[in-house]
């Protein structure tokens, strides 16, 4: 490809195949084939549809293709039918058999199979206008979302560059190279107010500006952080699997802005499908001349390679990531010098996260104001969250910054299942904190989250209900950081271990009130003295749970009780001898064989009641769930 004109030609040719125009008698069927879709069984669905279309010779008007994450995780596998002039239909919980039926009744017969549609399965009310509303867009889950970073995910085939181009792909790169100076690109990104989506929220344009000096005279690098390691976060994987070209295009734009001709994408090896699709995308971009030498005939060169991680959480930290690309142990380096001055191979480097890059092409195309019109004063645009935990609608959601937690949980997420009460939401993974129910109306943006002791992080949002013990949650994250601390600096290596030991002491019923002060003091030391972000944020789960759920810590320490009934050493199962009929079901189910028969027979019962020998009880709860007479209680 030598010019922008050629790009626009491809776009105009392919556009009608992606967004079907009115009157074209065409049908486009897409099946969600991200990791989660495939795991839920999307491959046989896709195969069934492809074969069915072939068998029935529908190929001339029906196209079938794979796409990335559609966003409704618990309803995978998902299949959507686009038809010119008609509303999209979203089928969920697909199987090969259902696909056959849809092919026959809907694709050939023209009648929507209502019982498989998302609005039917989710029981979301449709508008009462006599028409069938069966698209994902009709659901409460989707309606208030704003898809910017994820705009192509679930729509285009990520392994086909033409589809990306059809959706205006690479036009931003064309615009930047032909109509803008590198400084103008940086100014636009700066003016948009875009902040890093990977954790700390540093202004992206500022990062680029710092690295922009001395263009053309020094080697520089553009890196992408796709080492998404937070437990519970999967938005970067979804972008790479659903829209890899957006990241490639953005990195090329960044290369132009700072004067770099080489980029690296550091992806965790645990994401094989993301790696495969990204590699296909890079190869296609090279073939089209959108990566390589003399892009769009402007003399700008940019090349991109993938580097795989090897299972180290700390490599998500920017300096550690760079040492890992250099081929060393992924240990962080002290800053300054900042990467913009001395980064990868000691050269000026910028590093941004996948979701940050996914926003760039549209900022260039639509302008800074278009982007900054959404969001709050200091946090512009949208944020993608991986919604999980105790919530009805788990999934990938993208909402404007400033959306309240209540809206995300109650409206989009559909609330807490099983009639339980919302207790807290955890954001920011092991670096973040827990937001209590009292702060559910907080508008979510970088600064508000920091102010309440959590952080945006990469966007995992785990919802917890009354059955979750907050001390146990703090312990869970500490266990993770202790495992993943690289060991280079003492506050993190030793400090997190000591924090974990104190938490262990508390949850096993041996805590003292002084331990709370020790936790706090030690946490503050670790925060201020650790070398990198991992250590500096590691105590956050402890501090934020102590701040909002201090009474739970006290219950563990003083009353030796776990109010949520989670901490095994602090709970007891008891059999009520008056209610026990002596059937022995509990003893049969007890894995530790610790339930014995007593010699007491309650009035009216034929058999002697049972009793739990507490010393050997493993608190698994098997006895309680097997008792039909509700004679066993937990306390």
């Amino acid at each position: 490809m030598k010019s922008l004109t050629e790009l626009l030609k491809i776009r105009d040719e392919k556009r009608d195949h992606v967004i079907l125009p009115d009157g074209a008698n065409e049908i486009r069927i897409v099946v969600g084939m991200a990791t989660c879709g495939i795991a839920a069984g999307a491959t046989p669905v896709l195969n069934a549809i492809v074969e069915g279309v072939k068998r029935e010779s529908l190929g001339d008007r029906v196209t079938v293709m794979q796409t990335g994450c559609i966003g409704v995780c618990q309803y995978e596998p998902v299949m959507e039918v686009f038809q010119s002039g008609k509303e999209k239909v979203t089928y969920v919980g697909m199987t090969a058999e259902k696909a056959e039926r849809i092919l026959k009744e809907h694709i050939q017969g023209g009648k929507i199979v209502e019982e498989y549609t998302i609005t039917h399965v989710q029981n979301t009310k449709t508008e009462d206008d006599g028409k069938v509303h069966a698209s994902l867009q009709d659901t409460v889950f989707y309606k208030t979302q704003r898809r910017q970073a994820l705009r192509n995910c679930g729509l285009i085939d990520p392994e086909n560059i033409d589809e990306y181009i059809a959706m205006d792909g690479y036009r931003a790169l064309g615009k930047a190279l032909t109509e803008m100076t590198p400084d103008q690109v940086i100014e636009t990104v700066l003016a948009s107010g875009l902040r890093g989506r990977g954790g700390a929220g540093f202004p992206t344009g500022m990062k680029w500006k710092f690295a922009s000096g001395n263009r053309g005279n020094v080697q520089k690098y553009v890196c992408c952080n796709a080492d998404e390691g937070d437990p519970g976060a999967f938005m970067d994987r979804s972008v790479l699997e659903g829209d890899p070209h957006a990241v490639i295009e953005a990195m090329a734009i960044a290369g132009y802005a700072i004067g770099a001709d080489q980029g690296y994408v550091y992806v965790r090896a645990e994401y094989p499908i993301a790696v495969k699709r990204l590699q296909i995308a890079i190869d296609q971009a090279k073939e089209y001349g959108l990566l390589g030498k003399n892009i769009f005939g402007t003399g700008f060169n940019f090349d991109l390679s993938i580097r795989l991680g090897a299972g180290a959480f700390v490599c998500g930290e920017e300096t550690a990531l760079m040492t890992s690309i250099e081929g060393k142990r992924g240990e962080p380096r002290p800053r300054p010098p900042f990467p913009a001055v001395k980064g990868l191979f000691e050269k000026p480097t910028i590093l941004n996260n996948v979701e940050t890059y996914a926003n760039i092409p549209q900022i260039i195309l639509n302008g800074a104001e278009w982007f900054s019109s959404v969001g709050t004063e200091k946090s512009k645009g949208t944020k993608v969250f991986a919604l999980g935990g105790k919530i009805k609608n788990t999934g990938l959601v993208e909402v404007p910054m400033g959306t309240t937690l209540r809206h995300i949980i109650e409206e989009i997420g559909g609330g807490i299942p099983n009639g339980k009460k919302f207790k807290a939401a955890q954001t920011g993974g092991p670096s973040g904190g827990c937001i209590p129910a009292s702060l559910i109306d907080t508008p979510i943006d970088y600064d508000n989250l920091l102010a309440i002791g959590s952080m945006m992080g990469s966007g995992g949002l785990i919802v917890m209900d009354e059955d979750n013990c907050m001390v146990d949650i703090a312990r869970f994250f500490l266990d993770f950081t202790v495992d993943e601390s690289c060991g280079k600096c003492t506050p993190c290596r030793v400090g997190t271990k000591r924090l974990l030991e104190i938490l262990d002491k508390i949850i096993s019923g041996n805590g003292e009130m002084e331990d709370l002060d020790r936790l706090e003091e030690l946490s503050n030391y670790i925060k201020s003295a650790s070398l990198c972000g991992l250590g500096q944020t590691a105590p956050n789960p402890v501090l934020s749970t102590m701040r909002y759920f201090r009474d739970e810590y006290i219950a563990h320490i003083v009353d030796k009780k776990c109010p949520a009934g989670v901490c095994k050493k602090l709970i007891r199962y008891e059999i009520d001898p008056e209610k026990c009929i002596g059937c022995g079901m509990c003893a049969k189910n007890c894995p530790a064989s610790t339930i014995v028969r007593t010699d007491y027979t309650a009035p009216g019962h034929k058999l002697a009641s049972m009793k739990i020998e507490q010393a050997n009880c493993v608190k698994c709860g098997a006895c309680m769930s097997s008792c039909k007479f509700k004679a066993i209680s937990k306390g």
Binding site: R307, L308, A310, R329, P591, C620
Partner: protein, 164 residues
């Protein structure tokens, strides 16, 4: 988890070495090539024994000590091959109180393989795992995915006889 050095004798073939040398030759002049080289070496051999690390050190000029530092840092690099028979004993709470620890020790003793490593002939690897979720069958272990439940120390011998 701490990585244990292997006692399995190195059994690399000339074909494997040829492949490794080709990989090194292709990548060694690239900047930061060590991670891709180690990743591909592990694809070729299934793990990263010291012999392989030595070849890499010799061909790239990077010291063996530095290469070992990298191989032992990242959790996905394996210093031990999987045994022909991979034995995992559950050390979840329910299994543990019913004596899975004793079962594990017994297996380790009978096979003469330390926990977390592989026997010298490459036949058995023995490891402890977290809860397998089969608490009703406790204590539980799996050998190449096959589940054995309600184990007693005395069962170990008969079970292991099946895997010769």
């Amino acid at each position: 988890m701490k990585k244990k050095l292997t006692t399995v004798a190195f059994q690399g073939t000339p074909e494997q070495k040829e492949k490794l040398l080709a990989v090194i030759e292709k990548l060694k002049d690239q900047k930061g090539a060590m991670m891709p080289i180690l990743q591909q070496a592990q694809d070729i051999y299934g793990y990263l024994p010291i012999e392989v690390q030595k070849i890499i050190a010799e061909k790239t000029g990077v010291s063996l000590e530095e290469i070992f530092g990298i191989a032992s840092f990242y959790s996905m690099f394996k210093l031990n091959p999987d045994g022909k028979y991979a034995i995992s004993v559950c050390l979840g709470t329910a299994c543990y109180v019913k004596g899975s620890g004793d079962v594990l020790d017994e297996i380790s003793k009978q096979l003469n393989v330390p926990i977390g490593s592989t026997s010298a002939d490459g036949k058995y690897s023995v490891e402890a795992t977290r809860c397998l979720g089969a608490c009703g069958l406790a204590p539980v272990m799996t050998i190449n995915g096959e589940v054995y439940g309600s184990l007693k120390k005395t069962d170990v011998k008969t079970i292991l006889e099946k895997y010769q």
